[in-house]
């Protein structure tokens, strides 16, 4: 009477479950970032001049480089996933390490951006323009930091030979997370820095 289920090994089922959990988590987090963008749009729409004439304008070159760095890191991570699927597990460790390093480069460049703007007089207390810039970029950077820590942990696991074509779920989940962080950055780059 009950329908006949195709046999799936329990691990595949559990991996699907974990994957779905990650997707729902990222959907939730997309709403969180979406709200921050909503706040930005509204504050900007209500202000008289954006950016204020006496405040330093945001740099474009360094964030553009940063966008490339983050896209590159996402690509590397995706290649790691492909390599794992095809059974080339020995490539995973270096690939994950490279991704983490690219993440750190991103964070380093971001810190120099904050420092130079801060020195030029753009402080978080300096009105809505500065509030938006620091809040959005810092909140995003926090997520990059979490990603780097996770990638470091994955890298260690990969070097210890923990992942193979049959088992690489953590890599898969964190890849999804890392892509998400990258997409948020691109949206931020366009709306906060360029427009």
């Amino acid at each position: 009477m009950g329908e006949i289920l195709p046999y799936r090994p329990p691990r595949a089922r559990e991996e699907w479950t974990a994957y779905l959990g990650m997707v729902i988590f990222l959907a939730s987090w997309a709403m969180m970032f979406g709200s921050l963008f909503f706040a930005y749009g509204m504050v900007r729409a209500r202000s008289n001049e954006w950016p204020p004439a006496d405040l330093p304008s945001l740099p474009l070159v360094v964030p553009a480089i940063n966008s490339v760095v983050l896209v590159l890191s996402s690509a590397v991570l995706q290649l790691v996933l492909v390599a794992l699927r095809r059974g080339k597990a020995q490539l995973a460790g270096p690939g994950l390490g490279l991704t983490a390093v690219l993440g750190m480069v991103f964070l380093g460049l971001q810190i120099t951006t904050w420092r130079s703007l801060f020195d030029d007089g753009l402080t978080p207390q300096g009105g809505p323009y500065a509030s938006v810039f620091y809040t959005l970029t810092c909140f995003h950077a926090l997520h990059v930091l979490v990603g780097i820590l996770a990638l470091g942990w994955l890298c260690r696991g990969a070097l210890a030979g923990r992942y193979s074509a049959a088992r690489f779920l953590p890599v898969r989940l964190w890849t999804l997370y890392w892509h998400f962080v990258g997409v948020v950055w691109l949206a931020m780059f366009v709306t906060v820095y360029v427009v």
């Binding site: 009950g2 329990p10 959990g21 939730s28 709200s35 706040a39 207390q125």
Partner: protein
């Protein structure tokens, strides 16, 4: 089928079994205790508010000299602001949410869909402990200088910025909202995944009990809209602690500042789904309970599910009706009004389905059934009064009056309150393995249902007469002085409502520790949790059952003929009718 889900080994140490447990049934009980404790706390605050409106400026009897020693036992304006603010916040985020979603979401979902635990048991445990942290933050806020949060439960800026409420208390409360939001997201994530992935074979979506549907839809709303509240709270914290300028405006702002209205948008984008987050679980409980105790299949069950899903979707696009008087574009206001009024269509459908289910049923007026009927009654009143607030022309007059307070208390408070108690009385035997006293339960019901209706209808009447909400001493205004007797009577009803909870407190504690042992299926119904011993074993199901039918299979003549009873378990095989009954009645679906 055992291959589908692992059986986690049962923990043996006290700490892993009862404190840091990953068992959904233990976590459910933890949420229940934490929620009930704060329900009593929030209820106590409500009593203080009612005292103030009945006898403004007079010392509070019994507790006044203890709580308000500085002012001779009477409530000061500053105290009053904290009291009504924290009453709202505690009730919504720290009492009703943990009881309905934390306790019953955790308890019912795996048991009713035939799963051994949640999809992510460790995340589940983390969710509870994060929630507990947020409760601690709330408690701490009462003990700092300048007292707890005092900007109203909606925490609107500029009142909630450092300009309006400079103390640490408000910061702690906003932080608590953020932290409890994180806990809710973790829980919601778990519920959504669990329902999608861990349903027993044969448990299709249409065969899921309405309780699971309600909790699942709630979890979806939680996952999507609590983060919006999270970022609203985050920006408010940044404004308060780091001097950013999102909500500050006017003379206290730097470079023109941000916009206080921004907070209202973010708050209500979350806030309106939140209303349905708090009502969808009771809708689910009621849909199941009226069928269970009218001994009839739920009338047009798929229609009820459709209605609940439609409300879930619509709830995301009506938030503007909270902001009709904030200078919204009239065109936008009209759209929000139309969408808001459309919600009454599926809500009405649900209502008619309940009535049709009860119609000509052989009704068993057990305590859970009484509470379910009470929920229908108060929610009906709340829904009808909502029409006046959803319509712009009447809302302009009624906005920010006690009418609003009466309305949302009838829906969110009364319906959620009675719905929660229906669930507590119904699942108590399964949760604690003991029975509650039904006579005391009936006393509790009549006190609760009658007085909760009178209290909030009194508020509706006062609001219709022009009584604004949140007034410290309404009778400073000559045009409100004639409402003093009405408010005093409303307060008496509120005190009686408070006293009416004592039978429950006694009954609950006595039953947890000394109640008679519960049978496996005391209510004689067919959903999966009642095929398990009371309380269920650690891994719930020795064998994951295969489900053959929906949850409301009552009064089926074939079943009556084959088994000699008016119900059949969801996973029970119906013996061939030609033969004599193959199994005794007690072997419900266990094989």
């Amino acid at each position: 089928m055992e291959e589908l889900q692992h059986i986690h080994p049962e923990p043996t140490s006290f700490i892993r079994k009862w404190v840091f447990s990953t068992d959904h049934k233990v976590i459910a009980r933890q949420f229940l205790w934490a929620g009930l404790l704060f329900l009593a706390f929030g209820g106590g605050l409500a009593m203080l508010i009612r005292w103030q409106w009945a006898y403004p400026g007079e010392p509070v009897p019994a507790v006044g000299s203890l709580l308000f020693s500085g002012s001779g036992g009477s409530i000061t304006p500053a105290n009053y602001n904290s009291i009504f603010t924290m009453h709202g916040l505690i009730m919504i985020f720290f009492a009703i949410t943990p009881i309905m979603i934390g306790a019953f979401g955790n308890f019912c979902i795996p048991l009713m869909i035939g799963a051994r635990d949640m999809a992510f048991p460790k995340l589940n445990m983390l969710s509870f402990w994060t929630f507990l942290l947020s409760q601690c933050l709330v408690l701490a806020s009462f003990f700092v200088q300048l007292g707890s949060g005092a900007a109203g439960w909606t925490t609107y800026p500029p009142l909630s910025t450092n300009v309006g409420t400079p103390g640490l208390g408000q910061t702690l409360v906003v932080a608590a909202i953020f932290v409890t939001g994180v806990a809710t997201i973790m829980g919601g994530l778990n519920y959504v995944t669990t329902v999608v992935r861990l349903r027993a074979p044969g448990m299709t979506y249409a065969r899921m009990p309405a309780t699971v549907w309600g909790l699942w839809l709630t979890a979806i709303l939680n996952v999507l809209f609590v983060p919006v509240l999270g970022s609203a709270a985050l920006l408010l914290l940044l404004d308060r602690q780091f001097g950013t300028q999102f909500y500050v405006a006017g003379s206290s702002a730097v470079r023109g500042g941000g916009d206080p209205i921004l907070f209202q948008h973010l708050f209500w984008i979350f806030g309106h789904p939140e209303v349905y987050i708090l009502i969808l679980p009771p809708w689910g409980f009621v849909t199941d309970l009226v069928s269970f105790f009218a001994r009839k299949p739920a009338y047009w069950f798929k229609g009820s599910i459709f209605a609940m899903s439609a409300v879930t979707i619509l709830s995301a696009v009506v938030y503007g009706h909270h902001m009709f008087v904030t200078g919204m574009n009239p065109m936008l206001g009209q759209s929000f009004m139309t969408l808001t009024l459309i919600i009454s269509v599926p809500a009405e459908l649900l209502f008619l389905n309940w009535l049709h289910t009860i119609w000509k049923g052989s009704i068993r007026l057990t305590v859970p059934m009484l509470f379910a009927l009470g929920t229908i009654f108060v929610f009906g009143l709340g829904g009808l009064t909502g029409l006046f607030l959803g319509t712009i022309s009447t809302d302009l007059y009624l906005h920010d009056t006690m009418f609003v307070v009466g309305h949302f208390h009838l829906t969110m408070a009364a319906a959620a309150f009675l719905g929660s108690f229906a669930a507590i009385y119904f699942w108590f035997p399964k949760m604690f393995g003991r029975n509650m006293n039904q006579t005391l339960g009936k006393w509790h019901f009549w006190f609760s249902a009658v007085f909760i209706t009178l209290v909030f209808c009194g508020q509706l009447a006062a609001g219709y007469a022009g009584h604004q909400r949140r007034l410290f001493d309404p009778y400073q205004y000559t045009f409100l002085q004639h409402l003093h007797p009405l408010n005093r009577w409303t307060s008496y009803f509120a005190f009686l409502l408070g006293i009416g909870q004592l039978p429950f407190v006694y009954n609950f504690f006595r039953s947890v520790f000394m109640g008679t042992k519960a049978e496996m299926n005391p209510w004689e119904i067919g959903t999966l949790e009642w095929t398990l011993p009371s309380p269920p074993v650690h891994h719930n199901f020795d064998t994951i059952p295969t489900v053959h039918r929906g949850p409301h299979e009552f009064a089926n003549p074939e079943v009556k003929k084959a088994l000699g009873r008016d119900w059949i378990g969801q996973a029970e095989e119906l013996p061939k009718t030609e033969k004599a009954p193959a199994k005794p009645a007690a072997a419900a679906g266990a094989s």
